[in-house]
């Protein structure tokens, strides 16, 4: 385990935090904000703020022995719904090597954007054996510049899953249906990544209304049974999406997801449920 003290050219994180910590083949970066190291001020325009955040993240990951192309999971916290503008700059910076990503809106703080990231540390051959899942069978195409999941060092990091069936316009009407669809989508992504709901270590749930929790919990408990992951839930704004669920899971040990000793379902079973 290695803690970075400072990153050259990047403003120190606010308060008691290391810029990044390296452990077990991964880099965990503190939330990056659009603060210039020389002036401690954000750029005037939002696109400039996004560029600065991603350039701060890039410098932080490189100081930790990784880089943006090895980023496995990004969580973006915006204070305004400026997703298109964010995606434009983000796509330009990341190109085709897209991490899993979740983007939500939070209450206003000092900055309009904050980006949290987990990256893999590449080996001496500059690769980290990671694999990206761009799409899982039966699922709606992605809504932006992200992979549905990235696999690295035995872990699967998923993007926040949403209640879309074939497209955003095709969603279950009631909240219970939306929860089931979201969990089915999560399961499809995990199976495609060689994992399953029974191998999830950590879930983060983004709800949009505090009254959703009880119904969510009931359905969630049905899906996960006795294999309950660690979980954090909070309420945020996600445009017109009712909820979003992301997770970190482990890759199934050999002989893989067909192992009858595992509780995991197949893609066909998910599709017909």
């Amino acid at each position: 385990m290695r803690r970075l003290d400072t990153v050259r050219g990047v403003a120190a994180p606010k308060g008691a935090a290391s810029p990044a910590v390296v452990a077990n083949g991964f880099v965990f970066a503190s939330g990056q904000v659009p603060e210039a190291a020389d002036t401690n001020e954000p750029p005037a325009d939002f696109a400039g703020q996004v560029r600065l955040v991603l350039s701060n993240l890039s410098a932080t990951l490189e100081a930790a022995g990784s880089s943006l192309k090895h980023a496995v999971k990004i969580t973006t916290f915006l204070t305004d719904p400026r997703l298109a503008e964010y995606n434009e700059v983000y796509s330009e910076v990341f190109g085709d090597e897209l991490p899993a990503r979740t983007t939500v809106m939070v209450a206003g703080g000092e900055f309009a954007i904050e980006v949290q990231c987990i990256a893999a540390v590449p080996g001496p051959d500059h690769t980290c054996g990671s694999r990206r899942i761009a799409y899982a069978p039966g699922m709606a195409p992605v809504l932006g510049p992200y992979s549905q999941a990235v696999i690295a060092n035995g872990f699967v990091f998923t993007s926040g899953q949403i209640p879309a069936r074939s497209s955003m316009a095709d969603q279950p009407e009631d909240f219970g249906g939306k929860v089931r669809q979201t969990l089915n989508n999560l399961e499809s992504v995990l199976i495609e990544a060689g994992s399953g709901l029974d191998l999830v270590a950590k879930v983060t749930t983004y709800l949009t209304d505090p009254d959703q929790l009880d119904e969510y919990n009931g359905i969630y408990a049905d899906f996960f049974g006795s294999c309950l992951p660690a979980r954090t839930s909070c309420c945020v704004d996600i445009w017109d999406i009712a909820l979003e669920i992301e997770c970190i899971a482990v890759v199934a040990p050999d002989p893989g997801p067909e192992d009858p000793s595992r509780a995991g379902r197949t893609q066909d079973e998910v599709a017909t449920s």
């Binding site: 606010k14 308060g15 935090a17 077990n24 949290q116 987990i118 270590a201 909070c234 970190i248």
Partner: protein, 128 residues
Amino acid sequence: MKRLASFPGLAPAIGPFSQAVVAGGFVFTTGQIPLISGTDDRPADFAGSVRQVLSNLETVLLGAGSSLEHVVNITTYLSGPDQFEEYDSIFAEVFGAQLPARTSVCVGIWDFTFEIQCIAVLTDGVGA
């Protein structure tokens, strides 16, 4: 993979989750909230809530084979931006020089005011 549902001294879980899961050398914790023995037993003020949450987090980590010193990443959920300074000073006191990476955001978290989740490594560094 090892799932830890409860820990001595920690209020029972309030939903369908494990308090921590150990996998691949890491401990992933559930978001810890300011409960002492149960949902009706909470510290009176914000500083007390922060201390209780950090003490709950330590209980979970020690029970999972890790510790505060082995935390690599913290996500803090605040319910208002004015909470940050008081939170940060207590956090600094508890963590000392062993500072994790950290992200703090303001969100809705029912009536809990404050929540912390973390990823830590195992004390003995051996994967589970």
